[in-house]
């Protein structure tokens, strides 16, 4: 009962904020409402018996990635989107139609798939962190390492890309340039780290990704 209520609340919240993300003209609002979406999704994750993923969601997404977005938005001081003449109406219409079609297709298949699928009672094993960590550093170790590598590369790429070539005039305070250039690298650098740490610290190390 409570669960349904929570689901209803946060699903509605997620949808509403998602709409704001897409529709609002001001990037700052979009970003903030994305935060709301993410948090409500995190709650849903908890409902689905994935508290760890939920924590990571909040930690990495809201704590790092979206902050990054906000940071860039402000650094570039991107105001409201220019309300130019209504270009690309075809584009918009096609997009909406396509999305609707996708929705119908997927919805139908879901409905006939799990229309009345009853969930087995949540078993603790699924929730337990140690099991997750074990699998992460067992079957998926290689993937893990690869992701680490990817992040390392991303750090380097971001630093190179954002590095300011002379003469450069960032719109906002020059003293932020360093931050600006360092910024994108950051979450990369850290969540890439756990693979040095080896086994059991892994999941915790990913928490380090929060940075």
């Amino acid at each position: 009962m409570i669960e349904v209520a929570i689901f209803a609340i946060f699903a509605a919240l997620a949808l509403a904020s998602a709409l704001v993300v897409v529709l609002h003209r001001n990037p700052v609002y979009s970003t903030m409402s994305l935060v709301v979406t993410l948090i409500s999704l995190a709650v849903l994750f908890v409902l689905l018996g994935a508290p760890f993923i939920a924590a990571l969601q909040v930690l990495i997404y809201t704590g790092a990635i979206v902050v990054l977005f906000l940071f860039v938005v402000m650094l570039l001081n991107i105001g409201r989107e220019e309300i130019g003449e209504q270009r690309g109406l075809v584009q918009k219409g096609a997009a909406v139609v396509g999305a609707g079609a996708l929705l119908v297709i997927v919805g139908l298949s879901y409905m006939e798939g799990y229309g009345g699928a009853e969930l087995a009672p949540l078993d603790e094993e699924l929730v337990s962190l140690t099991g997750l960590a074990a699998e992460l550093f067992g079957r998926y170790l290689l993937t893990f390492e690869l992701v680490g590598l990817l992040l390392l590369v991303a750090v380097i790429a971001a630093t190179v890309l954002a590095a300011r070539e002379r003469p450069a005039v960032p719109t906002v305070g020059r003293d932020l340039a360093t931050a600006a250039t360092l910024e994108p690298g950051e979450d990369g650098l850290v969540s890439e780290r756990p693979d040095d740490e080896g086994d059991l610290a892994g999941s915790a190390g990913v928490a380090g990704g929060a940075g």
Partner: protein
């Protein structure tokens, strides 16, 4: 069911009471008297003995000041920012344990508001949300000093979150769990029969954690987001009255929660080499239920340790000069982060070796 809800409510109430009612005002006083002490001047000493009532006066002033909203500000965000500042700071406390699991009327009640399996993670996650308040405040004020302050805040917080998280990770490795209760339990069995505090094996981690904590709370020597000499007051330049107070309080509350976390991670949390339980048991032998005394003494111990850290915060604030921004970044990325990583590796190795 209802009982659990009630217990949780009670615990929450206790914490909120302590934080809002006790810590914040007291800290205001401590800060002002402490600075006076360090700077060898009297400080506020008119209201009440040793100016103890000064905080109340401040609060009154905040209540009655005019609440100004700049005409060009982004109103909704401008209003939302202070709330965003207070909420995470208050929420995080729920993960700090102040006692073991005790018997209350035949039911097991953990003396912690939420003992989630991902406890520390959630703590950090929610703490990381604090950034938004600063950034939003800076942006919404539509004032370049505020904006720069907000930007600085976001960069700085993200940078130091890494080091802090890694320090925490180093602590968690031997424990093998995210539950702070487990962390405390671990310290109670470490090495000696009376347990041992993590600060001993994790000295490096503790140092990193503290430095990061100073940065996370925008305290000197890392208070660049609100460096008055450059940015007037940074992100909360435009704020006044209760909204300003909200930022103010949120800063103190953040300090408090971080101090509590530090105490829990590195100084045995509510426990004190088994003395706390002993005292609770003896007192319960005379009168009253064990769980009550346990809770009180545990909470007391925790608060004691926390207050020590708060003192440290104040002391440092009035002692150290401010960093330059690039120095700040360099310290965070080129010193603390590598150090923390090395620390993590060493600890992991030691754990594998079975020393921890």
């Amino acid at each position: 069911m209802l009982f659990d809800l009630g217990a949780t409510a009670v615990k929450l109430g206790i914490f909120l009471g302590i934080l809002l009612g006790a810590i914040a005002p007291v800290m205001v006083w401590v800060e002002r008297r402490g600075s006076a002490l360090i700077q060898d001047r009297p400080g506020p000493n008119r209201l009440g003995p040793w100016g103890l009532l000064q905080p109340a006066a401040d609060a009154l002033k905040f209540f009655f000041k005019e609440d100004v909203t700049p005409s060009l500000a982004d109103r909704p965000l401008y209003l939302a920012a202070p709330v965003l500042a207070v909420l995470p700071a208050l929420t995080t406390f729920v993960f700090i344990p102040f006692g073991p699991t005790v018997e209350v009327a035949g039911r097991a009640v953990p003396l912690v508001v939420s003992d989630a399996s991902a406890g520390v993670l959630l703590f950090l996650a929610i703490a990381s949300l604090g950034v938004y308040s600063l950034v939003i405040a800076g942006y919404a004020s539509n004032n370049k000093y505020s904006l720069i302050g907000g930007l600085r805040a976001s960069a700085q917080l993200i940078s130091y979150e890494l080091a802090m998280t890694l320090a925490v990770v180093a602590v968690l490795i031997p424990v093998g769990s995210f539950r702070l209760t487990e962390v405390v339990a671990y310290q109670r069995e470490l090495w000696t029969p009376f347990g041992m505090w993590n600060v001993v094996p994790q000295l490096v981690g503790f140092f990193i954690f503290m430095v990061a904590a100073f940065a996370e709370t925008n305290r000197l020597p890392f208070d660049l987001p609100e460096a008055e000499s450059e940015l007037i007051a940074g992100f909360h330049t435009e704020y006044s009255a209760m909204r300003f107070a909200a930022f103010f309080m949120s800063e103190y509350i953040a300090m408090t929660t971080l101090s509590a976390l530090a105490a829990t991670l590195f100084f045995g949390g509510w426990s004190f080499f088994g003395l706390v339980e002993g005292a609770a048991r003896t007192v319960a032998g005379w009168f009253g239920p064990f769980w009550l005394w346990m809770g009180l003494f545990g909470l007391g111990t925790l608060l004691l340790k926390t207050v020590c850290f708060l003192g440290l915060f104040v002391w440092v604030r009035w002692t150290f000069p401010r960093f330059r921004y690039d120095q700040l970044m360099r310290l965070g990325w080129k010193v603390l982060l590598p150090l923390a990583l090395a620390n993590v590796i060493v600890v992991a190795a030691a754990t594998l070796a079975g020393w921890l």
